[in-house]
């Protein structure tokens, strides 16, 4: 028994954190709100160079041949900087099935729309219990506007005539589970960053002659958020391990992680906004970039209640 990441894993995580801290600044996130493609530009290519996008691609196909255990740590970092990219769709869901294209997005599960389909090369779509690879330019896209404007959403119409079958059977459910868990990991990073931003602000901002972070109400909001995140982390790590080793209960473990991480990150967002006060409510301040991503991801790939219902059918 050893429930911890290896030093190699945390070293890789640290390297990715450094890269993202340097390259994926809040200005890059903000720029993605105005960009034609809603994305980060060069950061995507830097992540590809570093191997982050091909962690799950077998070494034989030029990938790193690692597992979800390695990957969730990196996804948390992507959440921490609110990376405006279809990282879950491309690197977590699609990569083991389909490597090569610069950007792959997905349309699986009950998702009503695809993320960044307007800039993707290929859409990995589910139909009739199989996964299909569809060239994006063969699809019809109807854009839908997200409150997170870096998220270019579109309803997609496509034809099996244009598609190549990639996988079927258990691989379909496994792809969804990877997406849900990857999203949970991103939510962890979003949540921690919102708490950290708020700690920073509340330590500086003074009202009534004291930093607002010294008031017990502010402390307790943030302590509750931090505590919720603390107990989401091991659920995410365990689910990653279960996927990596092929545990038959992996889907239940994924749902436990996604349910808890969704709730924890949303709580962190609420606490962050309330403790910031008015400034957090301003479009010019960065907090809302993280908050809106959190709302979007908490309700994507199954929201907390959806995942708890899945756990319920396993345990009750």
């Amino acid at each position: 028994m050893r429930f911890a990441f290896t030093e190699e894993q945390t070293d890789f995580r640290d390297a990715v954190r450094d890269l993202l801290a340097r390259e994926c600044t809040p200005a890059v996130v903000r720029a993605a709100w105005e960009n034609p493609d809603g994305r980060s530009g060069a950061v995507w290519d830097l992540l590809a160079e570093m191997g982050v996008l091909s962690v799950l691609v077998p070494e034989a196909e030029g990938g790193l041949g690692m597992t979800m255990v390695d990957l969730v740590l990196l996804l948390e970092e992507c959440g921490r900087v609110a990376l405006p990219e279809p990282i879950v769709e491309h690197a977590v869901v699609a990569a083991p099935l389909l490597s090569g294209p610069r950007t792959v997005t997905t349309l699986i599960g009950d998702a009503p729309f695809a993320l960044d389909a307007d800039s993707a090369d290929v859409i990995l779509a589910e139909a009739d219990g199989h996964l299909w690879s569809v060239p994006a330019d063969a699809c019809g896209l109807v854009p839908c506007e997200s409150v997170d404007r870096s998220r270019h959403l579109a309803e997609v119409t496509w034809s099996i005539d244009d598609a190549a079958e990639l996988a079927g059977g258990a691989a379909v459910a496994a792809a969804f589970d990877r997406g849900a868990l990857g999203t949970a990991a991103v939510l962890l990073g979003l949540g921690h960053r919102m708490v950290e931003m708020t700690v920073g602000y509340a330590s500086e901002r003074r009202q009534f002659g004291a930093p607002i972070g010294s008031f017990q109400a502010v402390k307790h909001h943030l302590a509750d958020a931090r505590t919720a995140l603390e107990f989401a982390r091991p659920l995410v790590a365990r689910a990653a391990h279960s996927i990596a080793v092929g545990d038959p209960e992996a889907a239940t473990h994924v749902s436990m992680a996604k349910a808890h991480a969704s709730d924890a990150a949303e709580l962190a967002g609420r606490a962050a906004l309330q403790c910031h006060g008015a400034i957090g409510y301003s479009y010019e301040y960065d907090l809302h970039l993280w908050m809106k991503r959190t709302w979007a991801l908490a309700s994507s790939w199954g929201d907390a209640r959806w995942h708890r219902a899945r756990v319920a059918s396993a345990i009750l």
Partner: protein
């Protein structure tokens, strides 16, 4: 105890309902927190005014109907039930006007109130400053006496002025006695935003609309008749206004009963009716909206009998702001993956998140409840 409205009140309700049915814009106006939408809303305000429905509780001389608080409640219920446009005049009509009625000279009342009612002049609040938010007594903007010109010179910076980029006027507190501290030595000014030395910079709120502004004042001259109440006594005037904001007039129950009703409609259309957890949660907020309406009826009964509203208003503010969030949170839950899309519910959700922050954060309100309703020690 009598929970029926009089025939005259019911007749008033019918008139309002019919007028709104015939006049509420369809499709809805663009957001009043954008320049284009603000103009469209002002046109709507003018139509309300022409129908003598803009300020029903005001005297007839200023465009109202001398309506009772009960009629005001009825008006608000019908207004929200009809899905009528947001009131971009609200910070004048609901926050400033009560103070003008209470502290203004006859000349000030005659000068400001009719133009406020018609929407000809629009008002934003000048409370917060970069370093003074929750701690309003920390304002640093200065008012320096100009004896020769019979007026004052204002300097400093205000922020979080609602729709300040589109308003014609601002009301707010300035430090008129540089020697005094905290609550003392403040004066309440009425400031035209086209005065020389004023610079207004609008900025976006959570949903991106330009709903707020910073107002920079650089030696702005205002004459003596722009002082509301006594010089150096502005804190008392402001507290009366803040009382209005937290208390009865700004957050009429119709807003929340209407929102709960829309949530029930959304539930009927989109939710799984066998999901008993969701049913329970939707029912809970519906009950809470009713509780809020009924508590308001109690307060109006008290006020109508000559009573006053006290620190209990802080409980009201906590309750409506959290209720509003829970209503919109449930709508987001019902919408599921579509909750992140731009639309009236996601906009309402974002707006609801401001409730526990503005008009005194809910943390401050809880302190007030604890200290002034329950009598717990301050220190």
């Amino acid at each position: 105890m009598d929970l029926t409205f009089s025939p005259a009140e019911e007749a008033f309700r019918r008139e309002v309902r019919e007028w709104l049915a015939a006049n509420v814009p369809d499709p809805a106006l663009p957001s009043g927190d954008t320049r284009e939408g603000f103009a469209a809303h002002l046109a709507w305000e003018r139509r309300l005014f022409d129908a003598r429905l803009a300020v029903v509780s005001w005297p007839e001389a200023y465009g109202g109907r001398d309506a009772s608080l009960w009629e005001w409640i009825i008006f608000e219920e019908e207004y929200y039930r009809a899905g009528a446009p947001q009131r971009v005049t609200q910070n004048g009509i609901f926050l400033l006007a009560p103070s003008i009625f209470m502290f203004g000279t006859q000349a000030q009342q005659d000068r400001y109130l009719p133009r406020m009612a018609s929407g000809e002049e629009t008002w934003g609040q000048g409370w917060s400053e970069p370093e003074a938010g929750s701690d309003l007594a920390g304002v640093k903007s200065r008012a320096v006496r100009d004896e020769a010109a019979c007026g004052w010179r204002l300097s400093g910076q205000k922020t979080w002025t609602t729709r300040g980029a589109f308003c014609t006027h601002m009301f707010g507190l300035f430090r008129s006695d540089p020697e005094a501290e905290r609550h003392r030595g403040l004066t309440y000014f009425l400031v035209p935003l086209d005065a020389p030395g004023v610079t207004v910079r609008g900025f976006g709120r959570l949903d991106g609309d330009e709903g707020f502004a910073e107002v920079f004042l650089d030696d702005v001259f205002v004459p003596d008749d722009c002082v509301l109440g006594e010089v150096h006594q502005g804190w008392g005037v402001a507290m009366a206004t803040a009382g209005s904001e937290r208390g009865l007039t700004l957050r009429s129950p119709g807003r929340f009963t209407a929102a709960a009703g829309r949530l029930v409609d959304l539930w009927r259309e989109h939710a799984d009716p066998t999901d008993s957890g969701l049913r329970d949660d939707v029912t809970r907020v519906w009950i809470d909206a009713e509780a809020y309406r009924l508590q308001t009826l109690e307060v109006v009964t008290t006020l109508s009998g000559g009573g006053h509203s006290g620190p209990e208003a802080s409980m009201v503010k906590i309750f409506w702001s959290e209720l509003d969030i829970r209503i919109h949170e449930l709508a987001q839950r019902i919408l599921g993956p579509r909750a992140e899309l731009e639309g009236p519910w996601s906009k309402g959700w974002q707006f609801s998140l401001s409730g526990p922050i503005y008009a005194g954060t809910n943390e401050i309100q809880r302190n007030v409840v604890a200290e002034r309703v329950l009598g717990l020690p301050r220190k």
